[in-house]
Each structure stands twice: as structure tokens, then as C-alpha cells.
Symmetry: C2
Subunit: 290 residues, 2 copies
């Protein structure tokens, strides 16, 4: 660890070196840091990335995810670009400064320069594998993205055009075995193209920051709880009673209940949707909670 | 085939009986029809279903999907409910009346009654497994949904609340081996809950009716064409040249090109996103079009 004014130079083996960078392909040889170095010792970390030209919807979702994650003790990592990245940093700063910006240039001359960069250098952390004095170069940014994803448990992509830097971060994340979450949006806006593409390619569709927290084990799964809240009709209660301790086919159920097969199939579909009944192999049904 | 005034009664074996109903569990014993019976002889058929209380976004998407599908010769099937169903029928009617409404009551007393039902009985087709005179009953509608999906190659769900009839139709479709497409939307609107749920459960995220047509083999795949349109840099062209006729790892490529490993990995990620390079087992890369 070597310090130049308020810059800190980290190499693998330094006490503050992020361990998770050991597990990625082509890790940086060293990192320059400026700000609260102790943030590197705190876990978990989640990246929030997205378009430089987001919609108001995207920007407000970035603010929502950053606020909820940072206030739950998650460090928000991003690239300090305008738009989604900047919103993520700003709202995480409000929750105790739990945020790291990974740059494509020297941490002594953050780009874009301005109030956000200065606040991050004071209350958060600026990090870069590029030497102090190094200007931002186009080919630095895709490289930088592998450090953003490499530092984190997962990456949330808020809005992204069809081919964009955020998709590169998501691809790095997938390669590195990190979770990739993508926020859907309206199909009539080009800023949804990239996140929809990610979802089609296997990313997890995410609707709320609570789902990310649940995946990190910080709170109970939200989606599952909502599903279980569905109500069941009186007729369905009789069917559920019949399935108590048994695994039965629809025809057998129709016989026992003296109902038509279509009627029983309809109830089974509804109970399956409500999370009350699960399908067993061979067209059989049983209670979800035996 | 038995006719009561302008009602037609179909049973399995009737010339107009829809063959695809033979492949579903608990098919209807008979169907009553009113309108242009010849529509039952035309394929393919796609269901468009969704909320009774859609957003303007959902309604305009229903109109868009119905218009494009019907004008390409696809028969649009739905349930004639207010909202998404009604919009789908209305816009398919404008494209030559290529639309079928499957009812939860007798075709002689369509519900909801009104101008749309009368136009469908004249220019499209009303269909029901329930006897003439039968009123709409709540338990008819989930049953009716299995006929909507059963008649079709696939179901497009436009907007749906978290637990709703459209999800039942989608579940029937999946059980019947039909394709399920779901349109995403903003996460801050409850009408997106149902379609997002479907996508998480394995439905295909759909952004445009052209994707449905592509899946039906009616036009060339759109998404693939867009992907291939991505541009590649000069440096990438050199990398692509090196991969000509070979399958190589990133380290070998870095050696041959005299570039850094992170730089080569970055280019490979970008070329993979652009659909130019594919990954082979063992961390190797080859050209997508050898």
C-alpha cells in the first residue's frame, strides 16, 4: 500500500485488496483508490448500472434501488457516468455514503468532473486500475466494467439500449458467476431493449430492490409471500381437503368429488397459481405444504 | 352439424370441428357457433388476452398486436371481455374480421352485450361450449379459457394483475403445449405484475407482434437480424480474421495479436454481444458464421 497525497495504491496481497477480484479472469494488476478505503472491507456489494440517457422512469428506479439497497447495508457500485450510474451513486450517498465509483481513468482526475466526483472522493470511494493522470479513453470503459461486476455479488441493469456498455457489464457479470438482474420497462421505449434482451438471455427479471435483498439473504423472499396471499374458494377448500396426505390425478379427484373433469382441472390450475397445489410427475397433484 | 336459426352446433367429427381441441385435456363435448364458421378452417390462430382494466399502454399494445397479426393472416382469438380482449377483437375486425370470441355463456346472448358482440356475430365468430340460453357464471370463465388457449398456437398476454384470469389462460396454454408470450411493462404499475410473473415462470418475453409472426414462420426473425446489424471496430476485424477457421482461447489470441488479455477479453465480449463470435466448450471462441 503506497500513498500519493490522498491516493492509495493497492496490489493483490494488500490488506484492503478485494478478495472477489481473485476469482475473475484477467484481474487488474493494481488499483488506485481515493476516499473511504474502509468501504472495500464491507459486504455485500451490488452494482447498479444503466443508460447515460435514461427515462424519468429509469432514473427514479435507479434512485429507488440505490436507496433501499444502501439503507439495508449494501454497498452500491457503479461507473459514475451520467444518468443511471449518477443517480445510483447520489442516492446511495444519502444513505451514509455506501457507494464506490469504478473509473475508466485516474482517480486524481475523475471523469466526468464535478460535484458528484468530489462528494464521492470524500464520502464514498473512487477506484481505478488506471494510473493517476491517465485520461479517459474509449477502450478503458469496457475493461473498467469487468471490475464493476467483479467487485460485486451481482449487477442490476436499470435501462439500456440494445447494444450498450451496461450489457457488457452484464456479460462480464455472467462470465464471473455473478447474478444479473434486469428491470423491464415499456416495449415502446428503446431504453428497454437492452434489459429485455438480458432477460431473454437468462438474466433475472427484477421488479423491486427487496428481491435483490432476498437473494442476498438480507430479508425474506417477497414474491413468495405475495403468491401465498391468494385466496381460495369454498369449493377449492374441499379439493384441498381431498388432497390431504394424497397424490392424485385429476380424473380420480373428479370421481371422488363428483365434479366434472374440466371443473376439477380449472380448480387445480387456480390452486397451482395460488401456490397451494404442486404438480407431481405423471399428471398427479399434491398439496404444496403437505 | 345442427342449426338453430343462425346458431351452429358442432361436435367432434363435424367438418368444422377444430382439430387442435383433440390434443387438449378435457376438451369440450360440443361447441355452439354464431358468425363466419369458415374462420374455424383458417390457421394459424393466436390468442391475445389481458386485463379488463388496462393502462393506455396496454390497450395500445393490444391494438398493435391484433392489427399486425390479423393483417398477416393470423386469426386473433380472445374472450370479448372489456379492456385488452375487446381491443384485440376490434382491431382484428378492422383487418378483415379475422377474429373469434370464445364466450363463457350462450352465443345467442353474448356477454357483455353490445355493439362489439353484434359485430363479431356478423363479421367474426362467436364460439361457446355452453348451451344457448346459458347465462354467464363465474365458474364458466376459467373453463372457457382452456378453449381459448386450446384453439391456438399460442397466447399473448398483454397486461395482467398478479392473480388474474389471463394467468389461468396462460397456464392452460403451457399445459396444452402452446407457446406463451408475455409483454413486459413498467414495474411501478400493478398491471405488469402478471406478465412479469409469467416471464419469470418461463413465458417468452415479447416486444413486438413481428416476433410472434417469426415464431409462426410467417416472417424472418426480427431480433436476430437486429443483433447482426451491430458494427465492429477495426481492432475487432483483426481479431475476427485471426479466428477465421480456428477455435482459440483468449490467452492464445492475446499472444497472437500482441494485445493484453483484458483487452482481448473485452473485444470477445463485445463481439459475442454483436453475434459475431460464439463460445465453444473449454473457454474457447470461434466465429458465429464459420
Amino acid at each position: 500500500m503506497q500513498t500519493t497525497s490522498n491516493l492509495i495504491h493497492l496490489v493483490p496481497g494488500s490488506p484492503s485488496w478485494p478478495e472477489e477480484l481473485r476469482t475473475i479472469e484477467a484481474p487488474p494488476e493494481s488499483l488506485w483508490a481515493r476516499g473511504r478505503l474502509e468501504l472495500l472491507g464491507e459486504r455485500p456489494r451490488i452494482a447498479i448500472v444503466g443508460s447515460r440517457a435514461p427515462t424519468p422512469y429509469g432514473e427514479s428506479q435507479a434512485a429507488r434501488f440505490a436507496t433501499v439497497l444502501a439503507s439495508a447495508g449494501v454497498t452500491v457500485v457503479s461507473g459514475m457516468a451520467r444518468g443511471i450510474d449518477a443517480a445510483a451513486h447520489r442516492f446511495a450517498l444519502r444513505e451514509g455514503g455506501r457507494t464506490i465509483a469504478v473509473l475508466g481513468n485516474g482517480v486524481d482526475r475523475p471523469w466526468p468532473a464535478g460535484e458528484l466526483a468530489e462528494t464521492l472522493a470524500r464520502e464514498g470511494l473512487l477506484l481505478s486500475e488506471f494510473q493517476p493522470g491517465e485520461p479517459p479513453r474509449p477502450h478503458h470503459f469496457p475493461l473498467r466494467n469487468r471490475v464493476i461486476s467483479g467487485l460485486c455479488e451481482g449487477v442490476v441493469v436499470i435501462e439500456a439500449a440494445h447494444a450498450s456498455g451496461s450489457l457488457i457489464t452484464a456479460r462480464w457479470a455472467a462470465d464471473q458467476g455473478r447474478e444479473v438482474w434486469a428491470l423491464p420497462g415499456r416495449v415502446d421505449h428503446p431504453m428497454s431493449r437492452g434489459t429485455h434482451r438480458l432477460i431473454r438471455e437468462g438474466a433475472t427479471l427484477v421488479e423491486s430492490p427487496e428481491e435483490v435483498l432476498a437473494e442476498l439473504g438480507i430479508v425474506a423472499p417477497v414474491a413468495a409471500r405475495t403468491t401465498r396471499a391468494a385466496v381460495t374458494s369454498a369449493a377449492s377448500h374441499v379439493l384441498l381437503g381431498t388432497l390431504q396426505g394424497e397424490t392424485l390425478g385429476a380424473e380420480e379427484l373428479a370421481l371422488r368429488l363428483d365434479r366434472s373433469l374440466p371443473q376439477v382441472l380449472t380448480e387445480l390450475v387456480e390452486l397451482e397459481l395460488a401456490g397451494e397445489v404442486v404438480r407431481a410427475p405423471g399428471g398427479l397433484y399434491r398439496l404444496a405444504r403437505a
